[in-house]
């Protein structure tokens, strides 16, 4: 029975006598080697000889050395999480770039090349899908070979002016320490992690303004962008649909299964929203921006009928709906959720006036198109009711139904994660108007805890790219960076042995058989070597006799399939018999 089973298995094997040396290109098992290629000239950038003191674990003694150490540190964080048997090269430079007292370009990075329709070198799987653009380093990983040995995978150029010069950001500089203790300075490692993330796979290549794709083809990132309004992914859309989707705030999600699986362990539960309960034709959830003042929204929420608050059109505010003056229809507003318009006076003034009229909560409708609704800034400790902001479009929709009687609830939906849709899929940044660069190739900034790949690089970020702190690695997995601990080209989840014995010859308990350690590239044992299968015998056998018997069956099959000779079978059996296994 066992023999038949093994025979059946081997019958399907397509054996690749891949030299074990092919596995040896990575210096560290299961990790990608990311090399910073110093593109600077003498005495500049990475070669700046200015003496510096050690800082935050960075032991470089010159400014140039410390910059290079920080770069390599960030590269190693990514390299430790991504597996590739092809070295990833980042051509890096420090050059003088724009910097004023109050603003500066920190630096830039991105993939240098994109590839499509590249074959895999068995067992490496090749492209994720046909006619689909891949980032250079990702393409190399999946091809199992360097597709463009002459060029770097990523380019990175950072601003050498951020060096403590008072004229540049008031003397702020790049913090070159490795311990996140950046204080008022800019943590270079975090910025590098973010920008390298874009270069490795966290970006798409379509034009977000026009919707046009590079050479009219989609990419590994865009294939997993779903627009909740059209129900289409970005690769299924026309240019016009993509352009519309790029500004479809809070309605574009990333559908990758790894991100979805890890999201509940990373983002916090609780999304503020306005739920309209009636009339039936309007019922549903509306996105809101929360207020920085007044009482916070609760999960139980506050419900009531919505009433338009009216005030005098006067010097404080030209509209009768801007609530910049005391409310004149207090009787209609008391006990209800007041609806007011944005404009002219502070949000806290509007809410205070509505509160004074007896409102239990306030909805501020924006007065220009755009989205998603931002938060309500301001401060007034005497404001005690909750308030939110909605878009102009939503405000107009609700106003049009006030005659029918609108009943709504303001609250926090704890079943929806902050930064996800109701089904737990991560929201992608889709602000209206579109922001080339920021749009789509980042998470929605509503995400909390703060994420590395939001458009704003928040000061509380750690150097983690994995859960439970961060979703970036999860996204990398979804765009094609499959885990491959032994770098054999077969994803760990389907690898017969994710940590293969990759030695050139079959060695059993220290006994070298001299038999080539053949690797199985496909079939049910894909990812295993002969040594792995013998190791499996040892793991499953109840005693030494069982182990020897298992190896005997195995070698019979190998011999039958022409993979070993009779003499080689004898060598293996000799070592197995003398091994102290199991």
């Amino acid at each position: 029975m066992r023999k038949q089973s093994l025979t059946a298995k081997f019958a399907f094997l397509s054996l690749a006598l891949i030299g074990i040396l092919a596995f040896a290109s990575s210096e560290v098992l299961g990790q990608a080697v990311i090399t910073i290629v110093n593109g600077d000239g003498p005495d500049e950038g990475f070669n700046d000889p200015t003496p510096v003191d050690p800082v935050g674990g960075n032991t470089g003694t010159t400014l140039g050395q410390q910059r290079l150490i920080a770069f390599q540190f960030a590269a190693n964080i990514w390299g430790g999480k991504l597996a590739s048997n092809v070295e990833i090269r980042i051509l890096a430079r420090f050059n003088p770039q724009t910097c004023t007292a109050t603003s500066a370009v920190l630096g830039s990075a991105g993939t240098t090349f994109i590839f499509r329709d590249f074959p895999g070198v068995t067992p490496f799987p090749g492209a994720v899908a046909p006619s689909t653009w891949h980032h250079s380093a990702l393409a190399d990983k999946r091809a199992g070979a360097d597709l463009n040995p002459a060029g770097p995978d990523i380019q990175a150029t950072f601003n050498s002016n951020l060096n403590g010069n008072p004229a540049c950001l008031g003397g702020r500089k790049f913090y070159l320490g490795l311990d996140s203790n950046h204080g008022a300075d800019v943590d270079l490692v975090v910025v590098l992690l973010h920008e390298f993330g874009h270069g490795l796979g966290f970006s798409q290549f379509a034009n977000v303004s026009t919707g046009a794709q590079t050479q009219n083809l989609s990419d590994v990132y865009g294939k997993q962008l779903l627009d909740l309004s059209t129900g289409k992914t970005w690769d299924q859309m026309t240019n016009a649909e993509r352009a519309a989707s790029a500004i479809n705030s809070r309605r574009v999600v990333f559908t990758g299964p790894t991100v979805a699986a890890e999201l509940p362990g990373v983002l916090s539960p609780g999304t503020p929203l306005l739920r309209v309960n009636a009339p039936a034709g309007l019922a549903g959830n509306f996105a809101v921006g929360a207020a920085a003042f007044g009482s916070p929204l609760s999960s139980s929420g506050i419900s009531g009928n919505v009433a338009l608050a009216l005030d005098d059109a006067d010097a404080a505010g030209p509209l009768t709906t801007d609530a910049c003056s005391p409310i004149t229809n207090a009787a209609a507003v008391a006990g209800k959720i007041a609806l007011v318009d944005r404009g002219t006076c502070g949000f806290n003034v509007k809410v205070k006036n509505a509160q004074d009229a007896g409102a239990v909560a306030v909805i501020v409708a924006d007065n220009v198109a755009g989205g998603p609704p931002a938060g309500l800034g301001g401060a007034d400790p005497t404001v005690t009711i909750p308030s939110v902001r909605i878009t102009l479009a939503d405000g107009n929709t609700i106003k049009a139904q006030l005659g029918a009687g609108v009943n709504a609830t303001l609250g926090v939906d704890l079943s929806v994660f902050s930064g996800a849709d109701a089904l737990g899929r991560a929201l992608v940044n889709a602000p209206n108007p579109v922001q080339p660069g920021s749009s789509i190739s980042h998470w929605d900034p509503v995400a909390f805890r703060n994420q590395l790949m939001e458009p704003a690089i928040n000061g509380d970020l750690t150097h983690s790219v994995t859960s439970p702190e961060d979703l970036t690695l999860a996204l990398m997995r979804d765009v094609g960076w499959f885990a491959d601990a032994d770098l054999d080209g077969i994803a760990d989840e389907v690898d017969c042995s994710p940590n293969s014995d990759r030695r050139p010859t079959v060695i059993i308990d220290g006994c070298d058989t001299g038999v080539p350690n053949t690797f199985f590239s496909s079939g049910p044992n894909a990812g295993c070597t002969i040594s792995d299968l013998i190791r499996r015998c040892a793991a499953n056998a109840g005693n030494h006799g069982g182990f020897v018997s298992c190896v005997s069956h195995l070698t019979n099959e190998l011999k039958k399939d022409g993979l070993i000779t009779g003499s080689q079978k004898g060598s293996i059996m000799s070592c197995a018999a003398n091994a102290g296994l199991p």
């Binding site: 603003s103 991105g110 034009n207 920085a292 755009g370 931002a374 938060g375 800034g377 660069g437 704003a456």
Partner: protein, 191 residues
Amino acid sequence: MANQTFRRKLVWTAWAAFVALAMTLSLGAGTGVFAQTAHTEKPEKEKEEAKAQAAGQQSAVDAKTGKLKQPTQDETNALNEAIKKLFDRPTEGLKTTYLADGTVMVELTEEFMEVSVIKINPDGSKSVECVTGMKAAEESLKTHGPGAKANSAPGAPAAGPAQKASIPPAKGETGKTPQKTSQDKSQWEVM
């Protein structure tokens, strides 16, 4: 070489479109022109424009009064469109290599690079954000100004990362509810 020529042409075309747009606006309905096209009291206007930009505002000059005013929504949209055309990434004309095994390789231009920019807010806190393309980054720093509210005129749409609508924990709820941070507050619009 042909590719470079194409790109130069593209940028020049976009720039010409932008200039034409600005001129059209200045000669058009007579309601306003962008500050750059004003021709009277130039030194004073430049000062005012500089102040306005330092405050992170997009400014326009009323053609009749010659005074600074908030741009109308149409003017803001027109300017945004012009900027968009200037800095959009190309999708055709990129250097492409076809290999015998079917592999297609495209070399990306700088418009595809992600750029981090920093702005110091009026309260001294810093905002770091990511945009695409160095030109877009430079424009972002120019038009949005230091630590500015995006399109900061009251009534202008909020944009960009200044939208962190995190929520303070409600009484009786778990501490896992998102917390407000001072950084979030500093970025919120107040009117």
